[in-house]
């Protein structure tokens, strides 16, 4: 093989590219880094000011408002249990990381999904990119993230955003495209603009599907917390990672169980948020 085709130095090119980016856009990356760090650490500080029991009750009430009483009860007991195990602060750190990541994944993912739903050419660009984002091992883009954003919570956020965005984009596209053709025709026949068609008919009808995508994004982002802790992101993931490196099985389980509890709460609550407010009967 070597003799027929000269080995192209892809790895070198990529290294050089990353170096060039770091040198050229260093200040931009620093700005982004400070911004993200500010958001995550700020929200942790802010949440930590509230006594843990009161915060657990507040979260439970929020869950009740969005979903059902059973889920609210589980939220309360689950959070108090985490507090009891002594993982309250790491839990808050993880929550801030996850929610920040998901927030940016949605802010970018939903518009991209809408764009993709409207144009076939856009889909041709987006789909392979999504495949790449989902299948490329997360560690691989964790590395350049360190160069761009240093060690700490920020590369963790960036990696989580990249990893968790695809379901939101895919399901937004799918949901909008699944709106029956005759409804689209009806909106057109009455003289809707593209935006009116999207905002009044397509997006509302796609909402359950989009929410399923949001739910998946949250779950994927949670699955990234342990990996993010390898580049220094604090939180429950860090506890698990430390337990693994020090072979402390018990501690690992405790921290892992806490992650599971948070995951179940977020999953159930967002699933219900998608189902609720579906006035009347949908086909």
């Amino acid at each position: 093989m070597d003799k027929i085709l000269p080995r192209l130095p892809f790895a070198e090119w990529i290294d050089n590219g990353v170096d060039w980016l770091v040198v050229t856009f260093g200040t931009v990356f620093d700005g982004i880094s400070d911004f993200l760090k500010g958001i995550v650490e700020g929200s942790v500080e802010w949440l930590d000011m509230v006594p843990s029991i009161l915060l657990a009750v507040l979260f439970a009430l929020l869950a009740w408002f969005v979903s059902t009483r059973r889920i609210a009860l589980f939220t309360l007991i689950g959070l108090l249990f985490i507090d009891y195990l002594g993982y309250w602060y790491p839990m808050l750190q993880m929550l801030a990381l996850v929610l920040t990541s998901v927030f940016f994944a949605l802010i970018i993912g939903i518009p991209v999904g809408i764009w993709g739903s409207q144009q076939a050419t856009a889909r041709k660009i987006i789909n392979p990119l999504l495949d790449l984002m989902q299948t490329m091992p997360a560690f691989v883009y964790l590395l350049p993230a360190i160069f761009f954003f240093n060690i700490g919570v920020v590369p963790g956020v960036v990696a989580s955003v990249i990893f968790s965005m695809p379901p939101t984009i895919r399901l937004t596209m799918l949901g909008i495209q699944q709106v029956p053709k005759d409804l689209i025709e009806a909106t057109e026949a009455f003289g809707s603009t593209t935006w009116q068609r999207l905002s009044k008919v397509q997006i509302p009808l796609a909402k359950p599907t989009i929410m399923a995508g949001v739910n998946q994004s949250i779950m994927l982002s949670l699955s990234m917390v342990v990996i993010a802790s390898m580049v220094g992101a604090p939180g429950l993931g860090e506890e698990v990672y430390r337990a693994v490196t020090q072979l402390k099985t018990g501690v690992g389980f405790e921290a892992g169980l806490s992650i599971v509890i948070v995951a179940i709460i977020l999953d159930r609550v967002t699933q219900h948020a998608g189902k609720k407010k579906q006035g009347g009967i949908t086909k």
Binding site: D182, T187, A189, F190, G191, K200, K283
Partner: protein, 420 residues
């Protein structure tokens, strides 16, 4: 049936729609006179509508009829450019919509044309009222005003009180009323109805047809109605365009389509029509022989003898029907010196001109003398004789009058012989 209206609301001029990538090449072949199948084979493009030309007059119900795949749904979508025509012009109030930009087209869709869809196409996440408001909402009409208009048009279709329900909670017929109300709320001049009643079961469909005719009567909108159901077309259409393989085969009034099919296809299409439900008394009536009441029995008898008939109708000077006399009664009257008034039969079978044949069977079968057809002022228009009734049902054109009215110049001397 249709009143004389000259205003052209829509003019479709040589309009063609070709689906597929090779539209240009396909339209070339089309101009060379190749058929739909040949073009599909040569280019892979499908001819949806082929060189359609017709006018729709203001205030009429224009039915486009054809079997599935005949291009009727494509044709109706060309009228508001949900599908862009490949060639041709479509004039709406004299303005060519084919050349319009997006903005102009949107305006036409918002103000001039309403559309009703086969499967209703209601927005499942909006209430009935919100559905009916939609057209006005996207025009930016203030909420109070658009709700008032939407309620008004829901009232028109008999759905007052259902405003806060969701489409999924209503039956098919009611959903289509919402579809109709949504289209009417904008106050368009033209309604496009794409197989609007095809998804409804027969009884409800008939009700909806009646209500549509009533609405049309009250509001005078121009309606383009697509259907694959000939009975429906004949029932509601002022004029019908029949389509086959993307081509318009014939345009005409229901009578014209039935009575003088322009080719074999139309003929085959209409051969199964139940003529007894379509033809009216006006179609089969013959000129009546009458005698004025002051003429006396002798003259009546002489006329009957001369014409070879056994009974004759008695009218006054205004041609108002008074009764009838038989030859037997007339000769008895001459002997007894009685007047016509004394001997005439007044208990006559009388029917209005627009009675359909199916309702005539009973009357005609029991009547001793031919059944009289009268207008609303009791004036004699013509008579129905059994032979003509049977002849018309067999589809024989010589027994059928052209426009459902009687041609007074017609010579009837030969036909009256079979009277009685």
């Amino acid at each position: 049936m249709s009143e004389q209206i000259v205003n052209k609301k829509i003019e479709v001029i040589n309009t063609t729609k070709i689906f597929g990538k090779n539209a240009k090449r396909a339209s070339q072949l089309l101009n060379e006179g190749k058929s739909k199948g040949e073009i599909l084979k040569a280019t892979g493009a499908t001819v949806g509508v082929k060189n359609a030309s017709f006018d729709v007059y203001e205030g009429e119900i224009f039915v486009i009829m054809g079997l599935s795949g005949s291009g009727k749904s494509t044709l109706v979508r060309l009228l508001n450019r949900l599908i862009d025509p490949t060639m041709g012009n479509i004039l709406l109030d004299g303005e060519d919509i084919v050349g319009m930009n997006k903005e102009q087209l949107r305006n036409v869709r918002r103000k001039k044309i309403g559309m009703v869809f086969q499967n209703f196409a209601l927005f499942p996440h909006k209430t009935i009222l919100e559905n009916a408001e939609y057209g006005l909402e996207i025009q930016g009409v203030a909420k109070a005003e658009r709700q008032a208009k939407a309620k008004e048009s829901l009232g028109l279709v008999g759905l007052a009180g259902y405003e806060d329900q969701f489409p999924g909670q209503l039956s098919g017929g009611m959903q289509q009323r919402v579809g109709l109300a949504r289209a009417l709320a904008n106050g368009p001049d033209i309604l496009l109805m794409d197989e609007a009643f095809s998804a409804l079961d027969p009884l409800i469909r008939k009700d909806m047809q009646d209500e549509l005719l009533q609405l049309h009567n009250d509001m005078g909108k121009t309606i383009i109605f697509i259907t694959h159901d000939l009975d429906e077309a004949l029932r509601i259409g002022d004029r019908i365009a029949l389509m086959k393989d993307g081509e318009i085969v014939q345009v005409g009034t229901p009578e014209e389509i039935l009575m003088s099919p322009s080719n074999e296809y139309v003929e085959r299409f209409v051969e199964d029509v139940d003529l007894s439900k379509v033809l009216t008394a006006g179609h089969i009536m013959k000129k009546a022989d009458t005698v004025q009441i002051d003429r006396g029995a002798r003259i009546a008898l002489r006329m009957m003898k001369k014409l070879g008939i056994s009974s004759i109708y008695v009218v006054n000077k205004a041609n108002r029907l008074l009764g009838a006399v038989t030859a037997q009664d007339a000769s008895l009257a001459i002997e007894a010196g009685k007047t016509l008034e004394e001997i005439m039969i007044t208990d006559l079978p009388m029917i209005p001109q627009d009675t359909v044949l199916i309702d005539l069977f009973d009357i005609v079968s029991t009547a001793v003398i031919p059944v009289a057809v009268i207008d609303e002022n009791n004036r004699l228009q013509g008579i129905i004789i059994r032979g003509a009734l049977i002849g018309a049902l067999s589809g024989d054109n010589q027994f059928i009058n052209n426009n459902g009215t009687f041609d007074s110049d017609e010579k009837t001397d030969t036909e009256v012989k079979i009277n009685g």
